[in-house]
């Protein structure tokens, strides 16, 4: 076993391919004061408070992190980022965890991931979001015939006001296709 392998074995979180490395850098100077937990409007629904989540990130406890629903409950209110006495970009760190979950297509966060991806797909097709198409793509991707029912009353009210219309998913030439492709190319490069 060479030196690097040994290091990775002793401290798997520091392994170069460790997906958490970027998030660890973001919260490296966390002092565990708990201001984030005290400020979070969603903490009541979380299984791990944000403070405990950051500790687990630093300890590299990947399984615990991605068993928890904590980061998926971040609603981007930026209270923790504003108040963190260490000036850490905690909302962005939450998003970095969401990005890992999306990249790995983790089943536990299926509903959020499919929601975001359906949104992106509609943006790529048209350059702008078509709200009804986006929701239709989301429902289709979830393959749950009962899910749309939860949204039916609101959908009908919005249709009555002509704010949304039934739309068959379509595609039209738009400038964002080139942007999406370039981003994919650059990320493949790095």
């Amino acid at each position: 076993m060479n030196q690097t392998e040994l290091q990775e074995k002793q401290n798997p979180s520091r392994a170069p391919e460790n997906p958490l490395a970027e998030v660890q850098n973001m919260v490296n100077s966390c002092i565990q004061c708990g201001t984030c937990s005290g400020s979070c409007p969603n903490a009541f629904a979380m299984d791990l408070t944000p403070r405990r989540l950051w500790r687990k990130v630093l300890l590299g406890q990947t399984d615990d992190i991605f068993r928890s629903r904590t980061f998926s409950l971040c609603s981007d209110c930026y209270y923790c980022t504003l108040r963190c006495p260490r000036g850490l970009a905690l909302t962005e760190a939450m998003n970095a965890l969401k990005q890992i979950a999306a990249r790995e297509d983790m089943d536990r966060y299926k509903q959020s991931i499919r929601f975001y991806k359906s949104f992106l797909s509609s943006v790529r097709r048209h350059g702008r979001v078509h709200e009804m198409e986006f929701m239709s793509l989301f429902f289709l991707s979830m393959k749950n015939p009962f899910l749309p029912l939860a949204f039916t009353p609101l959908g009908l009210r919005l249709m009555a006001k002509r704010k949304i219309a039934i739309q068959i998913p379509s595609r039209e030439p738009n400038p964002l296709e080139a942007i999406f492709r370039k981003v994919e190319e650059m990320e493949g490069r790095s």
């Binding site: 980022t81 949104f119 942007i179 981003v183």
Partner: protein
């Protein structure tokens, strides 16, 4: 007053009344809005949950468009999520030349370039800072005397960038509300979170956050918002939440330019009031608006 205008996707769909009322109000107070040609989606909060580089590239394209049009140095954005996405790119590319280079490599695909010449501004920033209050007061046609109006700022126009207001204790809407003759409803929920897209992905959590807002607003005549996501969350689930909490939590929810527009005599049609999901009968009666709409 001349502004480049980025409406954003919601304002073409579920928040059409925010678009209409913003345009009508700004025109009435003598501000010119020039819509960006060929603007595209800012990525909302969804894109940053999937891909970080794309979340920078999408807003950047729109700022670059604004620079190209060069009709104004200020880019006016009514949606708080769009505003923050654009602001973030303005801020980050200004402080990170590596990132700016990367962004420009991407924008080159569209023949665009970002230079950092445009200032991104939220509608509330513009209305509370640039609008001359005496000019507004001279235009007043309808008094809101006797009304208690609760200002609701939400998150992303306040945080993380403290640009025009105190991100912990926002007050920028208060002089505007007072100018209409109304009283500012005293509450400390103005900067609290509405749950954003939780209503779509984790509804049980979203419902709790909105319930807390509606419960605290009890006693006010209306809540005023400056974000399509906040507006939708506050107005669309009132019946469900009333049932959940076993109390009547129905309340009128207006966009800020709708309230200000009504005060200067713009019509319901000008302000697309018929598109709101929650304007209560008691609010209409108190304001002497017809109930058939």
């Amino acid at each position: 007053m001349k502004y480049l205008y980025y409406p954003g996707c919601s304002l073409e769909g579920t928040a059409l009344e925010y678009n209409k009322s913003t345009r009508a109000f700004m025109q009435a107070v003598g501000a010119e809005l020039i819509e960006l040609d060929d603007w595209t989606c800012c990525g909302a909060t969804a894109v940053d949950s999937v891909n970080h580089l794309l979340a920078i590239a999408l807003p950047a394209r729109n700022i670059a468009l604004a620079e190209k049009m060069a009709a104004s140095k200020d880019l006016l954005v009514p949606c708080s999520a769009c505003y923050l996405n654009l602001k973030k790119v303005e801020d980050k590319t200004r402080h990170d030349s590596e990132l700016l280079k990367k962004v420009n490599e991407i924008l080159h695909e569209n023949g665009l370039q970002l230079q950092g010449k445009v200032r991104v501004r939220h509608l509330l920033d513009v209305v509370s800072k640039d609008l001359d209050l005496p000019v507004f007061q001279n235009l007043l046609k309808r008094s809101f005397a006797g009304f208690q109006i609760a200002p609701y700022y939400g998150c992303q126009c306040l945080r993380p960038y403290a640009v025009f207001d105190d991100p912990e204790a926002p007050r920028s809407m208060e002089p505007l509300i007072q100018a209409t003759g109304a009283e500012v409803y005293a509450w400390d929920m103005g900067g609290r979170c509405c749950g954003a897209s939780h209503m779509n992905t984790q509804m049980e959590v979203g419902l709790e956050l909105v319930a807390a807002l509606l419960q605290q607003a009890k006693g006010a005549d209306a809540i005023v918002t400056v974000c399509p996501m906040c507006q939708m969350n506050l107005e669309a689930y009132q019946q469900k939440i009333s049932k959940l909490k076993k109390e009547d939590l129905h309340i009128t929810i207006l966009y800020l330019p709708q309230l200000l527009g009504l005060a200067i005599g713009l019509t319901e049609k000008d302000l697309a009031l018929d598109l709101n999901l929650s304007i209560t009968k008691s609010f209409r009666d108190k304001l002497a608006l017809p109930n058939d709409a």
